[in-house]
C-alpha cells in the first residue's frame, strides 16, 4: 500500500518553496530533455510531428509545440511518445489536468515508460496529491532500478511532506546511483541538516557546489540550499555569497532574493536588504513573506509608513491564500 496522504502542518520545506522554483526548474529540464541526442523519438513512432515539436520546445515556443503535438496524437492516437511529449508540454505550461490525462494515455499505450511515470508523479505533486505522486515515482523506480532520478524524486517528495528519514534514504540512493547529481547532493545536505547530521550536511553541500562549478549549465539550487544552511548556521557573510550566486543563476528566483534579504538584514545591511527584497517583489508582488520581511526592514530603517504599507500588503496577500 502506498503511503496515504494527509494534511501536514507547516513543514521545514513548505510547499511554497517548490512553487518558488517551479517554472525555472521545469523549463530547464524540458529544454534539456528535448536537446538533440538526448533520447530521440523512436524511429518507428508513427507521429511525424515529434521532431518538429522538440525543435519548438528547444526554441521555447511551447504553444506551437503543443499544437503540433495535438495534431500528432490526433492523427496518431497510438503514439505513446506523442502523448508523453504532449503531457510534458502541458505540464510546462502548468496545465496540470490535461498533462495528467496525456501522460496516463501514454502509459496506457506503453506501461513500461519510467520517464512517463516520473513526469506523471511530478504532475501529481504539483496538484498537491503526494500519494499519487509517490505511487508514480515508485513505479518509475521499479521499471528502472538504476534510475537515480526516480530515487531523487522520491526523496524530494518525502522531504516536501516532512518525512525526512525517508527523504534521506532515497536521496542517498540517488547519489549512490549518480554521484554527479548536483541536486541530490544539495537536498541531501538540507535533509541531513534537518535531521541533525551536520557532518553529512556540510559534505553534501560542498559536493553539490563543487559539482555545480563544472556543470555545463550551472544550477541555482545548490547555492540556494547551501546559502540557507549557512544562514542558519549564522555564517552570514558566506551565506550572502552563495545566495547572490543563486540569484544570478536564476534571475526569476524570488526565493533566492528573499533569503538573501534575510541574510543581509541579519547583518544589519538594511539598504541592500531592502533593494534585494524589492527585486523579489518585482518578480512576484503577491509574495506575502517578502512583503513581511521588507516591512520589517522598513521599520528597522525607521520608515514607519513603508513598514505599515508592506505589513498590510503581507496580511492582505496572506489572507488570499491558506495560512
Amino acid at each position: 500500500m502506498s503511503r496515504p496522504e494527509r494534511p501536514e502542518r507547516a513543514a521545514f520545506w513548505p510547499r511554497e518553496r517548490a512553487a518558488f522554483r517551479g517554472a525555472w526548474t521545469l523549463g530547464l529540464w524540458l529544454v534539456t530533455w528535448a536537446a538533440p541526442g538526448a533520447g530521440q523519438p523512436p524511429e518507428d513512432d508513427p507521429c511525424r510531428e515529434l521532431r518538429q515539436a522538440r525543435s519548438l520546445i528547444r526554441a521555447g515556443d511551447l504553444p506551437a509545440a503543443r499544437r503540433s503535438l495535438e495534431t500528432c496524437v490526433g492523427t496518431n492516437p497510438l503514439s505513446a511518445e506523442g502523448w508523453l511529449t504532449l503531457g510534458l508540454v502541458h505540464f510546462a505550461e502548468r496545465h496540470f489536468d490535461p498533462a495528467a490525462a496525456a501522460l496516463e494515455k501514454s502509459l496506457e499505450l506503453d506501461p513500461a515508460q519510467p520517464q512517463a511515470f516520473k513526469m506523471l508523479g511530478r504532475v501529481h505533486a504539483a496538484r498537491s496529491n503526494p500519494a499519487l505522486a509517490e505511487r508514480a515515482f515508485v513505479e518509475a523506480g521499479r521499471l528502472a532500478p538504476q534510475d537515480a532520478e526516480a530515487r531523487y524524486l522520491l526523496g524530494r517528495l518525502h522531504q516536501s511532506e516532512g518525512r525526512l528519514v525517508e527523504a534521506a534514504r532515497f536521496l542517498k540512493e540517488a547519489v549512490a546511483l549518480d554521484p554527479s547529481s548536483v541536486r541530490a547532493h544539495a537536498f541531501l545536505g538540507s535533509v541531513s541538516y534537518a535531521l541533525g547530521d551536520e557532518s553529512l550536511a556540510q559534505e553534501s553541500f560542498l559536493r553539490a557546489v563543487s559539482l555545480n562549478r563544472t556543470a555545463p549549465t550551472p544550477d541555482a539550487i545548490p547555492h540556494l540550499e547551501y546559502g540557507i544552511y549557512l544562514q542558519r548556521a549564522d555564517r552570514l557573510e558566506e551565506s550572502v555569497a552563495e545566495l547572490r550566486r543563486a540569484a544570478q543563476l536564476d534571475d526569476s528566483s524570488v526565493e533566492a532574493r528573499f533569503e538573501l534579504g534575510r541574510s543581509l538584514r541579519r547583518l544589519g545591511r538594511l539598504k541592500e536588504a531592502s533593494e534585494v527584497l524589492r527585486e523579489a517583489l518585482e518578480r512576484d508582488g503577491t509574495a506575502a513573506r517578502v512583503h513581511y520581511l521588507l516591512g520589517r526592514v522598513c521599520y528597522e530603517q525607521g520608515d514607519r509608513v513603508c513598514g505599515d504599507e508592506h505589513m498590510k500588503l503581507a496580511e492582505t496577500q496572506r489572507g488570499r491564500t491558506a495560512r
Binding site: 496522504e5 494534511p7 502542518r9 513548505p14 518525512r163 513573506r289 491558506a322
Partner: protein, 462 residues
Amino acid sequence: MRARAATKALLVAACTGLAAPAAAQIRLTDIAARAGVDHVVRNSETPERYQIEPMIAGVALFDYDNDGRLDIYFCNGATIPGLEKSDARFWNRLYRNKGGLEFEDVTGRAGVAGGGYSMGVAAGDYDRDGWTDLYVTGVNRNLLYRNRGDGTFEDVTLSAGVAGELAGRGKVWSVGAGWIDYDNDGDLDLLVVNYCVWSPAMEKRCGALVDGYRTYCHPDRYDPLPNILYRNDGKGAFSDVSAETGIGAHLGKGMGVAFADYDSDGWPDVFVANDAWRNFLFRNRGDGRFEETGLQAGIAYIDDGRPVSGMGVDFQDYDGDGRPDVFLTALSNETFPLFRNEGNGMFRDETFGSRLGGQSLAWGGWSTGMVDLDNDGHLDLFVAGGHVQTNEELYTGRSSRQPNRVFRNLGDGTFQDVSRECGQDFQQTGLHRGAAFGDLDADAKVLDGGHAASCSGKRRSP
C-alpha cells in the same frame, strides 16, 4: 492507549546541588510514584480524533494551604463526545505537599474536581485575601475556584462572571489563562486564551481514509476566536472588558499566554502564542487599551515570514540585558522560536543565532519555561515534548512519543541541548503536554510539572 491517557503530566527535579554561581549538571529524576503522585491524565482518545484530545494536561504549582510548600493541581479530560467528568477518573486533581517530597490527593476534600473537559489552569489571589485561587479553562466549562482558606474551594464562576462566554456564541473552547493586573490598580485581572470554534458534532475528518490513519486536523480547518479580558472590580466580580481594551478585536487560535513589560513603560504587556496563526503582542498603552503590535515588533511570525504552531510560551530575560524576551514552542519541523527584545519596541528572531533552530527542529513542544535549572544565573529552557499526532509512526516512521528537552543557556546568547545528560529518567518518551516549575522540597532546586523528582546532587567540576 485509549483507556489510558494520551498525555502525561510530570514532576521533575533539576538537581543542582545548593545554589551556586558555577554551573551544575542538570539531573532530572522521576519521583512521581515515590511521592504519591499517581495522577493519570485521561483525554478519552478516540478513533475519530477529536481536536481537543491532544491539547489537555495543564498543571500548576501553588501553595493552596499557605504552609510554605508548593502543591500541585492537574487538569484532566472528560468523556467524548459528552464532555462530562462522568466519574472520578476524569477529575482534575489537587495534591497537597506534605513535605519530604510526599504528596496526598485532596481533590475531593478541597472540592476542585472540576467539570467538563479541562485544559489549563492559572493560580492567583484575585480577591487579595492571602489565599491563592484557581481559574481552570476548558472546552465546555471554565471555572473560578475561590480559596476559602480552610482547605476548601468554592466555585464562584457565575457570581464572578468569568464563565468564558462570548456574546452571541456562549461558552467557547478556552485553552489557557493568566492573571495580570493590566490596569495597575492592585488586583489581578484575568486574560482567557481561546482556541477555535469547535464542538463534537462539527468535528471534521482528516488523514487517510484507512483504518487507524485518521489524524487530528490542521487548525486551518477551524475558525478562530477572540480572547477575553476580564477586569477585576475588587469586590469579587469581574467585567468583560475585551471590547473596550481592544483585546477582543483580534481573532486567533490561542494556545499560550505570557505577560511582561517589554517596553519598560511600567504597564504589563501580553503575548499570545497562536497555533498556525500569527502571534499577538498586545502592548498595554496604560490608558485601559491595548494595541496589537506583533507585526511592527517583528514577533508575529518567525523570521521567514511564516506562522508556526505556537504552543507554550515564556516571556523572560534570557540574555540578562534587563529586557524580557519571548520563547515559544511549536511542532516538529518548525523549530522553537526565540525572539530577543532589542529594546526599541522590536524583537529579533534569534532562533538560529542562539543555536536553538537546528537543535529543536526535530521536536514537538508544548508547555515551556525559561528557568535556571543549573543555578548558574542564566535562564535555561525546558520544553514538554511530544508530537501532536498519536499515530505519527504510520506516516513518517517517527515516534509520536518524544522525550522532554532541556536547552542549557551557555550565557553567551546560545543554548545547548543537554537533554541526554539529564539522566536516564529524562529519556522517557511520552506525549508530554503540561509543565510547571517550582521548588517542591524547598531546597533551592527547581522542579517542573512532569515526573516527580529527587536529586542526585551531581555537579560538574567547578
